[in-house]
Symmetry: C2
Subunit: 769 residues, 2 copies
């Protein structure tokens, strides 16, 4: 756990350069715009520890997998988000010294991520060994509006001398992924081209043949007056630069403005990449840095209007929740249904930038609540687009007749993970993908997605479950053998309750949704039957029978749901009795010891109770919560938020708050000692959920929003904006009351603590708590 | 399955060159002498498919492991047997053509592995594109007596022309392992040196710093007259050669004799390697090829005297059993307790040449029955030498107080395997290592090993089991959770019966052996207590309590031992109903499908019944055999032999014979389509066991040899030599009688079909069957 950042309501601030935390800061101060993003690497040369990262959404490399022992069915490749050409680079020379924060004396350093307006800035003074001091100011951002454009401004002022300062502004395509399995480079140069202020580098990825043209436009100014003479431009292989050497008088300012554009074959014909890139750069130049930055602030202002959470009386909590929302919003904008949300977003290479079930289980509710519903719909569409590949994937594993198993980890629908206990056995992901369809429909009341796309996915998933169960003569029920649940600290278990539960639910929901469609639109229903080759009689009947005869492990004596068969055979220990020196257990214990212990990474019984809360008595939820929470080590970043929401539901307010704290500042305080690899983007959605679903108790039931709020004692109040069916509500909760403003021009009826309330358009309603 | 070899009682014969089977033949015709060995690569240049392999026992490289996702406790390296300098190489040039069997017309080809006398020979005629024909004869062997020496003779006769023939005889150190994880080379040159007929190359392995000097001595002869003039010698980096170009008259013979010696720092001081190598080569040269070959035949004659099996009436079976015995005997001689038996011996790289539990469970009985008992004792000693590392290994996994977990795969005692379900969970290996101590003691009546070394191993293993069990409140017994049994088609199961059984047995046997020692030699006992820091009261009592209160999964309704908890939850299918197109299932099914199926790789319940046969009623063995055999796919080469022995025991003679056939010609007929990777050396011991323990029904009970023989109907008789406590018995079984010759000078009392028989020294006894 670290504590080196300054608390602020709208900014993340590092007030002093700490080289030992630089890689952490590179992650935390990352910027992006949904289409591309980058770690907060320094523009100037830096020889200290650093992880360079520039990423373009949707571009990946199918790296050769690396396994100990190959198993039939393993994927051929592991998709890796590509580290792309580095466009921010500046070599600064003062006399015979190169500016390098690893080698100079630094003062007045400040790095700021301004989340309100969406940019990264930095300033510092550097003293060279010869005593010369320069002051540097930089601002950098990826434009949310002009989403092919990145821009930076870098200003140098000699403070105690006049002399020659050289700035070489470069574009470097000779980059590699730190996580390359065989130390290979993934890019090959296609062409490069230069004019007096422009550089273009077009490269192609090996195997996948993505082409990317990265262009930069560089201008130099002294005291805001552009310099056009004596600009020297040169190029080597995959490296293009513009440089200038000027005598700068003490106190004058030499600034470099640089625009970059990344144009890829994902969105443009291959032969037009440089042309498009050129046009984008010209547009950016004609708008100018100031205008772009103003537009950026306006864009973010719009985003915050529908998604901000305000916390009163706790500055660090305020900073943290905005940080989580900011990072999610700059990772995924929902404009392109081919894209998704990698666990690290644009902040690192780990997990290959691929899609996990995190998206459906955690990110979807966030985007539903904070964005136009088209955004969440695009997340669903991503899976629909991969349906055929999911069917192929299931076939590879021996399933037939249109059964689908969605990949555990994927970039374009192909499975990319290569541990059998996860790849082949963590099949609950199919359930989360189905549940997301239900969740979207419940929240939005938009049934068109379900009917047009969702049902095809549900049918294929139902077919998978049907083939995956087997009848146990001993239990006289259907069982699901050999699975890994969301609690990955158990592998290859029988009858994981969560998996059985979500499978049973899927089968029932698919049938019910089909029958609804049949009633509503028989023509569309018939078309669907034909398209999916569905046998209305036998398949639907089978699904119902299996769903109703699914086995659920329980301990009747203790009134507990059992995580899986034989869970109580384990030695029953509690997390509170674990020595601190042995935590996190995954860093101290061998895998077998973790597996045979009763300790839980994230409690999947509780995940199931969260999803299907309405089906269970509060007392049953309480019993299971108390049992499993005491055994859960929360070594998944996805774990505490669900526990926090349940604790809130159970009125265990202090517990709810304590669990919330584990998620909110996970990255800012480097809780898990791994922020340097990148941020935990997907679990950030859980932080938002902890407040909205936890503290505010927000649910959608019977076509209406329900709230059951409380105020954590540490706060004096909190408020948030919520987009519910295109009506934006401003909700404010303090110790005494809840205030709801209906900003829309239509009446809305909601429930607070079970009581129905109608709020007129453009009006505010207060409820005593 | 292939069928391209000619049947012969003493030889393996390939009568026609089949390039598509060349890699298979390279494995099958491999030669070795326990200290080194090689695949049957051609001496001359060959551009067809080939796997070059020259191996030195005990030399390995710790290759960087390759895993998908690292898990705490995984080994740092994977030991690899080293492909070593290639000393057999000859470049043959006739006119402008290089001899290459991939490019010439071949006739009269024959490759013969002479198992009686222990050498490999080959002859062929090669016709070059210009019509010139040469005849070639080669003989090659590794001397069993002079075990640092390999020798070859290569003769070329021009049949239809006279002309220049050039022979370049080389030593090539620029070799690599095909299975290198990162395509690295493992050797680095230290020095090279040449005289007019000698070449020396000294190389060192990276990381492990093994030094090896390989030397060759080359002489050329024409019609058996040595040529000393005009020998040209040259060297490049890691390559040294001697060559000669001579005009050879039609019908004359140009022959090359080459001796090689491999001297390593494993056995000699590093600065003396070349000197020792030189001396060995001089000794070989002074003996000469003919004498060395005569000695080789004599050595093998001795080996066969104590280990031959003769099968009457089935030439292919005869050839096969001798092939199995020959390969085992040339892989391991038992002279060096630092060495062990890799699953592929000197015949390929697969499995890294490391030691598995195969040694204790399969090879030990073979060497006990066919060799002096010191050989088997050295196999046990190997594990004793690794005891501290096994304790360290257990510590790494969280065990304490001197508990040992022997590695699953090892070269020098370090664990080298990196799949958690095997590395961490296939803990039954500890049991096999303990059982081998018991088995050795039972067979030899030599208690000194147990007392001096074995008990320390047993104590450490008992301590492991004690810590590995946990008390189940539900079962009111000790359980062992999260293991993989010998049936590797189940992973991470609870209460694998075999593991629980052998653990319980270990605990009891260790206690019993300690009490025996206490009674016999209290001084030695007290010393042992001190050395192992054993608490006589608490530890022994704990072991007994756990042993007696171990849980064993059973199905009382069917009278079955259950392979593991919940085995009967699976869909119960039979192997006979599996489509042929889906077998072997490990090549057709994904891992999860294999795991959740009821199909068994090798039946560990039956392995346990084999080990502990005396504890079970015949009817119980039959019930379990019939149940598990029907579900076993035998996709481990170690599987059929145990089933064959049990089938024999149960009087299921045809089944016993059918299962025997699966082991006997596994490699000769390439049954599993993988002989090209190398031979299944360790499972060859199972073939021997199937005859000796199966058909002959050999057991040691109550200090006496017992036989319960039958003759497979396909044979007219079989006989074998058995070394029992330094008395060699010749046992012959035909349809009507069993004849036992006691070749020793002491009386022996044995049991045949339960009846006690005394056989005088140097006499023969017949028993009607």
């Amino acid at each position: 756990m670290k504590d080196y950042l300054t608390a602020d309501e709208w900014c993340i601030i590092e007030d002093q350069f700490l080289p030992e935390y630089h890689k952490i800061s590179e992650s935390i101060f990352s910027i992006g715009n949904g289409k591309m993003g980058q770690r907060a690497n320094f523009e100037e040369n830096y020889t200290g520890e650093s992880l360079t990262g520039n990423y373009i959404a949707g571009l990946y490399y199918p790296d050769k997998t690396r396994v100990g022992w190959w198993k039939n069915g393993y994927p051929e490749y592991f998709a890796k988000v590509l580290n792309s050409p580095n466009w921010i680079g500046l070599n600064i020379t003062v006399g015979s010294y190169t500016l390098d924060l690893h080698k100079v004396e630094i003062s007045k350093f400040q790095r700021v991520l301004n989340m309100k307006d969406g940019y990264l800035k930095r300033c510092f003074e550097a003293k060279f060994p010869n005593g010369k001091i320069i002051s540097v100011n930089t601002v950098r951002f990826y434009s949310m509006d002009e989403d092919d454009i990145g821009a930076l401004e870098y200003s140098i002022t000699p403070l105690n001398f006049s002399g020659i300062i050289t700035v070489e502004s470069y574009l470097d395509g000779d980059v590699k992924n730190e996580d390359a399995n065989y130390d290979e480079k993934f890019w090959e140069k296609k062409s490069q081209h230069q004019t007096d202020n422009l550089s273009f580098l077009t490269q192609t990825t090996k195997k996948t043949n993505f082409s990317l043209c990265t262009g930069t436009a560089t201008t130099f100014k002294v005291n805001n007056k552009q310099i056009v003479d004596n600009i020297c431009f040169q190029q080597f292989d995959q490296f293009l630069s513009h440089s200038i050497s000027l005598h700068i008088e003490q106190g004058n300012c030499l600034s470099t403005t640089k625009y970059a554009s990344n144009i890829s074959s994902l969105n443009h014909p291959e032969n037009e990449l440089q042309e498009v890139c050129h046009k984008k750069l010209e547009q950016a130049q004609s708008k100018g840095f100031k205008k772009l930055l103003e537009e950026q602030a306006a864009s973010w202002s719009n985003i915050w209007a529908s998604s901000d959470i305000i916390i009163d009386g706790d500055l660090k909590a305020q900073q943290a929740i905005r940080f989580n929302i900011f990072q999610l919003k700059q990772t995924y904008t929902g404009r392109d249904s081919r894209l998704n949300i990698g666990p690290k977003g644009f902040t690192g290479e780990k997990y290959g930038g691929s899609t996990y079930w995190d998206t459906e289980a955690y990110c979807l509710p966030f985007f539903l609540g904070t964005s136009d519903q088209s955004i969440a719909r695009n997340l669903l569409k991503y899976r629909y687009n991969h349906l055929q590949k999911a069917i192929d994937n299931a076939q590879k594993l021996g399933f037939t007749d249109g059964a689908a198993l969605y990949p555990m980890v994927t970039m374009t629908g192909d499975e990319c993970h290569n541990e059998w206990e996860i790849t082949f056995e963590e099949i609950h992901r199919n359930g989360a993908i189905a549940f997301a369809i239900y969740n979207y429909t419940r929240y939005t009341n938009d049934h068109s997605y379900l009917e047009k796309y969702g049902l095809e996915v549900l049918i294929a998933i139902a077919r998978f479950w049907k083939q995956r169960v087997n009848w146990s003569i001993i239990k006289n029920k259907y069982v699901i053998l050999g699975v890994t649940g969301p609690n990955e600290y158990e592998n290859n278990v029988n009858n994981n309750w969560y998996t059985n539960k979500i499978a049973s639910w899927c089968l029932a929901y698919t049938k019910e949704s089909l029958l609804n469609l049949k009633q509503k639109n028989n023509h569309q229903y018939t078309e669907l039957l034909t398209k999916t080759n569905l046998n209305e009689d036998t398949e639907l009947a089978d699904w119902e029978f299996i769903s109703k005869n699914m086995y659920f492990p329980e301990d009747n004596g203790m009134g507990l749901i059992l995580q899986q068969d034989d869970y109580l055979e384990k030695e029953q220990l509690l997390v509170k009795d674990l020595p601190v020196s042995e935590r996190p257990i995954h860093q101290h214990w061998s895998w077998d010891r973790i597996l045979r212990s009763c300790f839980i990474k994230q409690a999947d019984v509780l995940q199931g109770l969260y999803f299907f809360e309405e089906e269970f008595e509060l007392e049953s939820i309480r019993r299971n919560f108390d049992f499993y929470e005491a055994r859960t080590v929360h070594e998944s970043s996805l774990s505490p938020c669900i526990h926090s929401i349940l604790a809130a539901r159970l009125g265990q307010r202090e517990k709810a708050y304590a669990l919330y704290l584990r998620t909110a500042r996970l990255d800012l305080d480097d809780y898990n000692n791994d922020t340097e690899d990148g941020l935990h983007i997907t679990s950030m959605a859980g932080t938002w959920m902890s407040i909205v679903e936890g503290f505010a108790g927000t649910r959608v039931k019977d076509d209406s929003l329900h709230f059951n709020p409380f105020l954590p004692t540490e706060w004096s109040g909190f408020s948030f904006n919520l987009n519910f069916r295109n009506q934006i509500l401003k909700i404010e909760i303090n110790q005494h009351q809840m205030e709801i403003e209906n900003t829309s021009d239509q009446v809305i009826s909601i429930h607070v603590k079970g009581k129905k309330i109608e709020i007129k358009e453009k009006s505010v309603h207060q409820i005593e708590l």
